[in-house]
Amino acid sequence: MSSRLRACVFGRFFSFESIKEVMNKANELRSGDVQAGLCATSDRERVAAKRVLSELTLDELYEAPSVPYESDELTRLFQDGCEAAARRRLGGLSLGQVREWLLDTRTTGEDVLAVSPGLTPEMVAGVTKLMSNMDLVVAARKIRVVVRCNNTLGLPGRISSRLQPNHPRDSEEGILAVILDGLSYGNGDAVIGVNPSTETVESTVEILSRVKALMNKLAVPTQNCVLSHITIQMQAMQKGAPLDLCFQSIAGSEGANRNFGVSLRILDEAAAMTHELGTAKGPNVMYFETGQGTALSADAHHGTDQVTMEARAYGLARRYKPFLVNSVVGFIGPEYLHDGKQITRAGLEDHFMGKLSGLSMGCDACYTNHAECDQNDVENLEMLLASAGVNYLMGIPAGDDVMLNYETTSFHNNAALREIYGLRPAPEFEAWLERVGLWRAGKLTERAGDATLLLNREDVRAVVFGSKRRSA
């Protein structure tokens, strides 16, 4: 094997000890791989690794999981769960050939989804390392992953958004005010998802109930979610809280998930409970967030690059047929993704890898102010993702999250993306927008941006303003 792991670039030979070293060094440059001491030491070594990788077969990658089978429950899930029939269809092809097959205009999204169950995360990550940014857009665009909860996401010609109405002290009235504002721009068809600042069962029950009360009064077809720890959401469900989507942050190794306080067993239990006690129609009722660098930050990356670890998070997510999965791509900070270029690349990689894994992918195109990144960078990433057929993006007032203290994308941006690309909301949500006078003939009406348009009725006002007069 090792005699094959070498390539010549402009007169110089580069050889690699293992498939793992090839995978690590074939990544586009990013600060997390530098920090971990895993990246190529020169551009020539990087492209040599890509050359070697392009000649490895999918079967060879199957035999080289990045985390040992014996010590990691995710690796066992991936290896044992890899569908043999699907794997046989491409198994003998080299990664270079797989890349060309994905890009071939005759290969349809249905063709890709048919082989997806035969791909392990290492295969998904491997082919991603051989693709340019435009390759990632072309290949992802053809893969449509359609999912259903109360709404339908992922249909061609449509794009949705998560409305993220966070409040620094979890004021329910403040949360509802932002929801009304976001709905008035046509945001919120993927989920109304609140990050609580205080993670207690009581506050999770309260926020879920209050948001659901508003959704019911407005008869708006969407999903509610409170992004507290999954075990807290389980207790909230058991107390009878109305919960549509069950959320958890996940990562690509057993150890990294332990750092999040979850395991396969806990996730299995939560998914079963949500199907039983959750309030959504389904069948897709789970919501996961991921992000490159998570495993490294937990020191649970097993010497593996952050693209491969991210693909493993998607390999875990697909077990639960989730309604939503998004990478929170720039949240983690510049020591993992240094600048706008690295964040953009990672956003496109994550979206493609998620789609190739059969997931309904969104993205939180975001950054912190100590990264070399600004709103122009995330606007660029949003436009690229919209052209790549992303299922949903984030909607926050002015793109500034006043609770989590990071910068992301705005209600206005989601409206503008629909304008630029001629995209429409989820069909159930679009019909509601038309009913309330916010949407007509494929675009927002003049009334858009006026939250008080949704406050015509006294019972709606009572839910928003009067915590004492609230009724279910």
Partner: protein
């Protein structure tokens, strides 16, 4: 292409002018940041208040201010087509400019001496390395360890530490007042406070190493926090009881948003004393104190 003489002259002139005006040296700026800010442009000013809302002809005009008052988020912004109004666009840019300038600022080299602080530094060689390699900002360099060795027997009740963190500007603007408020409050509480120190390129965990070296019962770190929009002057206070290397952040207490329009220095100092009294009495810190200031 070569520069003609008049261009060279104008560059030299500009450099000399900047030096006369006390602008920071160009080396302190991020690569490609362009010319240094002119000192004469630095003066106190507050932004004009935002309009309550910018929605033309709302369906229920009386309800809109009530909605706006419910959240610090920017709702009812109005729109220019599907984009921000110009004023909102520029306000967002101002907020981010303040944050980014804060991240890339530096505390002047003579600042520690002027505040009677021992000057230390971590293992980072410069600010870019500080931003990309957090682990190097958690440990002191060899010279700083040696400097602290002289204080090995000071064993104070509370070791006060100032660190530049992710916003050196916050230290420059609010560090002195917060430090003074802490010193007054600790003296009033009757605690022995060792000689204070300042750490350049500091992450939170460097306080643990300092606390261990001087055998302090507790450390209090004032550090520039990661700036949000328009919060480049915001300090955080990290309080750690029984410092040890590798102590988890959940074992520390944090007070954030210490700045003129947030938590005032005196209030932050009073909260710190409350936390420390309980912490020193029980010998634990962080979430275990049950004071609601624990930080994950």
């Amino acid at each position: 292409m070569s520069l003609d003489d008049s261009t060279v002259d104008s560059i030299v002139e500009a450099v000399l002018r900047n030096l006369r005006e006390g602008a920071p040296p160009a080396a302190a700026r991020p690569l490609g940041a362009g010319p240094v800010e002119r000192a004469e442009t630095v003066q106190a000013c507050t932004p004009a208040p935002r309009p309550v809302h910018a929605v033309p002809a709302p369906a229920h005009a009386a309800l809109l201010p009530r909605l706006v008052a419910l959240t610090p988020s920017q709702v009812a912004m109005g729109r220019a087509g599907n984009r921000f109004r110009t004023d909102d666009y520029l306000r967002a840019r101002e907020g981010q400019a303040d944050a980014r300038d804060a991240v890339h600022s530096e505390v002047p080299d003579d600042w520690p001496a002027r505040h009677q602080l021992l000057s230390l530094r971590t293992q980072c060689v410069d600010r870019p390395e500080y931003l990309l390699f957090p682990s190097k900002g958690r440990r002191l360099d060899a010279g700083s360890v040696a400097a602290l060795a002289a204080q090995r027997d000071s064993a104070p009740d509370v070791q006060l530490i100032v660190g530049d963190g992710l916003s050196p500007n916050a230290v420059v603007q609010n560090g002195a007042a917060t430090l003074a408020a802490m010193q007054r409050a600790f003296a009033a509480a009757g605690w022995r406070v060792g000689a204070g120190c300042y750490v350049k390129y500091a992450r939170i965990a460097v306080a643990d190493e300092i606390g261990v070296l001087v055998r302090a019962r507790a450390t209090v770190l004032l550090v520039g926090e990661r700036p949000g929009l328009g919060t480049g002057d915001s300090l955080s206070v990290y309080i750690a009881v029984n410092p040890k290397l590798g102590q988890d952040n959940a074992e520390k207490n944090c007070i954030s948003n210490v700045r003129p329009i947030g938590i005032a220095p005196e209030e932050a100092a009073a909260q710190t004393v409350t936390i420390l009294k309980r912490g020193l009495q029980l010998g634990v810190g962080g979430v275990a104190l049950g004071l609601g200031w624990g930080r994950k």
